[in-house]
Subunit: 269 residues, 4 copies
């Protein structure tokens, strides 16, 4: 399997996307709103998270929503705002693609193309994304086993992609107090079995803002190569996932806490 360490060869385990490097000593901090909702909110949030310490921007233009009557994202307009946010802040951007027909358009704008949890088993998308020429961020499915997650990665690598980063989030369990159970042991497990950098998304990993700071610290402590977080400058007005979105102030505080833990495990923020 191409995801195995011995197959990586001389390339090493670092993955670059824009001016950011995953898998090195310095952790990658990706922040931004769940969905791009307006030009104004996107630019305001982008500026705020950069100031707070983010090294990469996130924002969804195409949103996989449970119901067709929920906000579906601004689509191509959203990509424009995302590109503008990059201009403004200098931060590279990652955004999700949901349909094979949109890959080229997304890859033209994004520094890194994301395949979301709901599409981790969408093999047609995985194959095509692997051929798009851009670095890829692949999120674990909500009930995918580690082996299935790695096999999904293999589909992307098979397509020719050499720059793949995994992202762990919550999985489905019987527990009712949280939307998802964050499976942090997946971080060392994935690192044992593959060469790919591993990010953690504590926002989708729990679905509950009050748990995000402690889970972000835990992610750093157990060896994650960075953290991906939902931050919104006006979370109370968010059209999507407001209950798990941090404010820029929250995020800034978390960056400080993660910095201390990172130093304790020989990393930097």
């Amino acid at each position: 399997m191409k995801y195995e360490k011995e197959q990586r060869g001389d390339t090493g385990c670092l993955v670059k996307a824009g001016n950011v490097c995953f898998g090195g000593k310095q952790l990658v901090l990706i922040a931004g709103p769940c969905a791009i909702e307006s030009r104004e909110f996107m630019l305001e949030t982008a500026t705020a998270v950069k100031e707070a310490g983010a090294t990469m921007l996130r924002g969804g233009a195409f949103k996989p929503r449970t119901s067709p009557y929920e906000f579906q994202g601004l689509s191509f307009k959203g990509l424009e705002y995302l590109a503008e946010a990059r201009e403004l802040t200098g931060l590279p951007v990652v955004t999700e693609v949901m349909d094979t027909v949109d890959i080229a358009a997304v890859a033209e704008v994004a520094d890194m193309v994301q395949v979301g949890s709901r599409n981790m088993h969408n093999y047609a998308l995985l194959k095509s994304v692997g051929e798009c020429g851009k670095p890829v961020l692949l999120k674990r499915g909500m009930c995918a086993t580690i082996r299935e997650f790695l096999c999904a990665a293999e589909y992307v690598l098979q397509g020719g992609c050499n720059d793949l980063v995994l992202c762990v989030r919550g999985i489905r369990t019987f527990e009712e107090e949280v939307r998802f159970t964050m499976d942090l042991a997946a971080v060392p497990l994935l690192k044992e079995q593959s060469w790919m950098p591993v990010m953690v998304d504590p926002s989708h990993g729990t679905g509950k803002l009050s748990l995000v700071p402690s889970m972000a610290r835990a992610a750093v402590a157990c060896g994650a190569d960075g953290v991906m977080m939902e931050v919104h400058c006006h979370a109370d007005q968010a059209l999507c996932d407001g209950q798990q979105s941090a404010s820029p102030e929250d995020f800034s505080k978390m960056v400080g806490e993660m910095r201390l833990v990172a130093e304790a495990v020989g990393r930097t923020v």
Copy 2:
């Protein structure tokens, strides 16, 4: 929501696909191989399942496989063989589509287009399939809640589809003896909350052939509108899911058992 009974109006709850009617007194029995592997096997299996009592044919031309190195299906060649099997037997055919770009080609051949478990959260595919003009069979995701399943159905109905059938299969649990835990209570639950016919797939519902006959009987007893089953004329040579495929003889025996249970609950086979 369009899936609610009160929204169905005068159309009634019957769904037709080819010469088959889902949701009536007579149960629908869909049988065939997991994957279409060769012209010979497809035609042989089709003839055998028809004789054994099947009323619809299944067979995968595009296969969602965990690993990219497993058999991925014969693709368009497979569709040809499936069409030939229909000619030969007179049975309507259902087959899965995995990519929005293939929908038109699949819809041209199939009497009913299937969206598989791994794509139940693939909203781009759901939307497009809903617009294809053919009846749709939507399978429950391996860890989708009932509400998510119904919302996925809503995406298809939103696209304009009026002929949608749900199919229940196994879900992921901690149990290790079976590949999936068959959640039969989903049948009455879905019927309480929606107007759509509900099929059961006991092959993928358990992943173990020895459990299929008892689960097929149970499906009929709890009110399913039919059963969808993997049958292969040479299961030991199957390239996919051989361990859960029944032989035509097994299938024939199961049809007899299901007939008796169907009569006990006021249905026919």
Copy 3:
């Protein structure tokens, strides 16, 4: 392992408790309230379920409740009422024991001693119950694997018990619409691997009354040796599990439905 078929020897697979026989052609129908709440309700319900077709009575004197502030059962007074209900109806009784110190007292009254789901991993209790000299009904734990369930049975058999019956109920999953997911495939699985009769509890298997009739029929169809059900003559006043308790009229109707399905699979009610 003593639970394996080849270890059962000449004894055969039938298990007797009072005048009832588990594992034969005739299904066992156990009915009664979740908890014994008063002499009056117990006797009224006992009379009603007998009339409706029950062949054994259930009723909890010691109740394992999630919170210490919920009704904990009438304890020894409850056992008295249960004995009185047996006198009145002639039906044998099964009731749960929760503490090793109470086993002797429970075994003196009960025709069959039950170990509940919450105590399936309580090995001290399993060992002692196996030595009590009475037939035992062992329920599957809410997240016990089939192997763990059979090993728990082995503890009881090791104690010297020869009359052990298993009872399947719901397991914990991510699904939110029901309290538990009823795992009916456990019925054929347990029968493949052991000699013990297998009952199904569709009341605790779903936690929702509207699903009980269809799941009771499915249980019979897939080969269960009987069904155990919560029936209460005044479910709206029940101190425990009222939302899943059937009325005697509901129960009577279900018996009729189960009878038809039983005949379809070569059994009787």
Copy 4:
């Protein structure tokens, strides 16, 4: 509920057991073998873990084992060896009780009485342990919700116990690479909803030694009041859970790593 913060009153949230204090700035490190297997191994391991930084000793005399044919523990002889290990090292000891009839004997020897995961729903045991006069360590059940865990704690508190500590471990999920999925978000969740100190057991939380160090660091990072770990001086000869037991050298290294993370979050080791 007595577990709520506002009910704790002036007592504060610290819990003492022997010379150890849970819930303060200093983390509690409990180490020792899964089962007490011999006097020699117990004393050797006790000496080694003390040297490596443990502040409390663990060791099972009564072992809840899945099969009755697995090693069941040395029982009262084991308690003797445990007491001797305390004499030798000066470390307080915690050990599990499984049966109400053994509580008095265990409480006489132990500084802290443990109720294990398999007995978290054993309400008879919870009530009696709460009356035994010794501090109690309550482990989360393998599929207990947070609410059920807190209600189990309430049973102990109801019995009169004022010194209760919770311990989080792995829960059951679909994931197959690990025995359990460690649910670290339970730590902040329990601290939001109750006053009790929260320990983490990364050995039973994962069932895989290679994951223990990273999960131990993560536990400290997310706010746990300490860690409980299986350490065995000859893990390859362990009669129980050898595959997840650390050597004293492993443990010593982990203590060093946890110390650095503890300082990063304002705690000490």
